[in-house]
């Protein structure tokens, strides 16, 4: 089933027409209501009426996380406070959080996006939707909740934590769909296995996982452990929250709700648009937002876009999974390192788990990088040689993947703190005077 055939299956010409109309409208609206952005446009020498084609979007200045910090808390709100019906928030770059305001229409569009995503995953009104994202200022819980309500599903507002209770509800309420962060899904899958519950004892059939980057290997573990099909759901608070894009049953990239959120990929250094299919930084323009529109917002997420009709019937542009964030990207010994590369290596070893931490430090004038990773629970270790040879093999694979040496330290299973939300994977102890 397709939730909104008109928008999700529109031909390119129709979609581009909708996008252009909405872009012109939102740029004019932003120019008239947000002095900070109007000043940016003036400085760039561009006026709303200069946007005549979709390509003209390149004339417009970007909005960055730093702009949000400067305008904390509500400097970028375009709507009057009396028309704002909801505030959500996520952590910011400078210690102050990012504050986002929604009008009622923004809330409806958000629910619409998630509704399209859930439908894409084969979830409908007859299903039980188990929402284990955190509820509150974080958009995960309430966003997934609103979408699940919109499609008329039976909603379980579990929020995160208390894994034993999560599993009880999964079993007793026969949940069909699980919505949470992939790291929490992995925590649940581990706990399910530990409790001696077989995947086939659960009714779960689909999972919508997002809010942090994850890998194919993590997906395999979650799918196997819970007996489900895992989908990616992507979003960020600044743009709306989860549901900006979702992967369908074809698992062929995430369909972007591009009548609402216009995607571009730019080179993170030159900030020039890159051709379709090339990898770079994802930039979004909210085409219909009223509360706090974002024009060319730099997400810091690294991915690429794909065009063409999907086998599921939808024609919307798809985005690849996020390979990493320009923020998370570590520069160690002058080399770019993404935590996802390390994760891919770990997943090659059945003896290891995806509970890991990367420590970066500096000794003298030289960077050091170290991986702390837990052994799989139940692994019998009676042999120093086994540990030593594992260390050699993992370090060798890491060197192949990262192009720099990375020391490996093994830990007993269950010694790193478990994640209930976004996992903290990197600790950078380097200090620069």
């Amino acid at each position: 089933m397709i939730w909104n055939k008109e928008m999700e299956c529109a031909d390119r010409e129709t979609m581009r027409k909708v996008q252009l109309e909405r872009l012109q409208e939102v740029v004019k609206y932003e120019y008239e209501h947000v002095p900070y952005y109007a000043a940016k446009m003036d400085k760039a020498g561009v006026r709303p009426e200069d946007i005549r084609t979709l390509e003209d979007i390149e004339l417009l200045p970007f909005i960055t996380k730093e702009d949000l910090a400067v305008n904390y808390p509500t400097g970028l709100f375009a709507a009057k406070m009396e028309d704002i019906v909801r505030i959500q928030s996520s952590s910011g770059t400078t210690g102050k959080p990012k504050i986002v305001g929604y009008t009622q229409r923004d809330m409806d569009d958000w629910a619409e996006s998630v509704a399209r995503g859930l439908t894409m995953c084969g979830i409908g009104k007859n299903d039980v939707a188990h929402i284990s994202y955190g509820y509150g200022l974080f958009t995960g819980g309430l966003g997934a909740h609103a979408g699940a309500e919109a499609i008329g599903a039976t909603v379980l507002p579990m929020s995160t934590g208390n894994t034993a209770r999560q599993i009880m509800f999964l079993q007793d309420m026969k949940s069909d769909a699980l919505c949470c962060t992939p790291s929490y899904a992995l925590t649940i899958a581990e706990a399910v296995e530990k409790a001696g519950i077989k995947p086939e004892d659960l009714q779960l059939r689909a999972g919508l996982f997002g809010a942090e980057p994850w890998t194919q290997s993590m997906r395999n573990k979650i799918e196997k452990g819970l007996g489900i099909r895992a989908h990616d759901i992507y979003g960020l608070t600044e743009i709306t929250g989860p549901g900006v894009s979702t992967s369908c049953i074809e698992n062929n990239g995430m369909h972007v709700q591009e009548d609402l959120f216009y995607p571009e990929i730019v080179d993170p250094n030159t900030l020039k648009q890159l051709p379709m299919g090339e990898t770079g930084e994802l930039v979004f323009t909210t085409l219909r937002k009223q509360g706090m529109p974002m024009i060319r917002y730099r997400t810091r997420d690294i991915c690429y876009l794909m065009e063409g009709k999907c086998a599921c019937g939808r024609t919307t542009v798809r985005m690849s999974r996020v390979f990493g964030r320009t923020d998370d990207m570590l520069i160690v010994k002058g080399v770019n390192v993404f935590p996802s590369q390390v994760e891919t290596v770990i997943a090659k070893f059945d003896e290891l788990t995806l509970n890991y931490k990367i420590l970066v430090d500096r000794k003298g004038n030289s960077d050091t990088i170290e991986l702390m990773v837990e052994f799989a629970d139940g692994l019998a270790i009676d042999d120093i040689e086994f540990v030593e040879s594992m260390k050699k093999r993992v370090e060798h694979e890491l060197r192949d993947s990262l192009q720099i040496g990375c020391k490996v330290r093994f830990l007993n299973a269950g010694t790193l703190p478990r994640s209930e939300g976004k996992a903290v994977r990197v600790e950078d102890r380097r200090k620069y005077e």
């Binding site: 052994f375 692994l379 019998a380 540990v387 330290r409 010694t415």
Partner: protein, 141 residues
């Protein structure tokens, strides 16, 4: 009948060993024999306790991975060359010794050695045939 040994993986960090022995003490688990193999970064503590399953249970969820395996504990006369005699028998049979540590038959106050060999079953047969006595768990209590 083989003796059961518990092996525990240890990160070489200050206090790690004390954490481990504290858990064992709290659970009333008596160490009949203990040895540690280590590199600069890791250690493997091998021990013999009367109820290995209890030790595993006590350590599970406390951040220690423990596993049980069979080892051979053989009684040794308290005379020079006694250990050599045992090792010679194994060497002649082409059986390698992965590790070895000394053990006490507490009840009798006599010596013993505990070993892991490359072929436990054959080692057990050959040593028995040669008149060497294999210890049981109770001998080490």
């Amino acid at each position: 009948m083989a003796v059961k040994q518990v092996s525990i993986f240890l990160e070489n960090e200050t206090g790690r060993l004390a954490d481990l022995t504290e858990i064992l003490a709290e659970n009333g688990i008596d160490l009949n024999a203990v040895t540690i193999a280590e590199t600069g970064e890791y250690g493997i503590l091998r021990c013999i306790v009367q109820n290995p399953e209890d030790a595993i249970k006590a350590l599970a969820g406390k951040g220690f991975m423990a596993s049980i395996s069979d080892v051979l504990t053989v009684a040794i006369d308290n005379v020079p060359g006694a250990v050599n005699k045992v090792l010679q028998i194994l060497a002649d049979a082409g059986i390698g010794v992965k590790y070895i540590y000394s053990t006490i038959q507490s009840a009798k106050g006599e010596a013993a050695i505990t070993m892991k060999t490359t072929d436990q079953e054959r080692a057990e047969n050959i040593l028995t045939k040669a008149g060497i006595r294999l210890c049981e768990m109770e001998d080490l209590k």
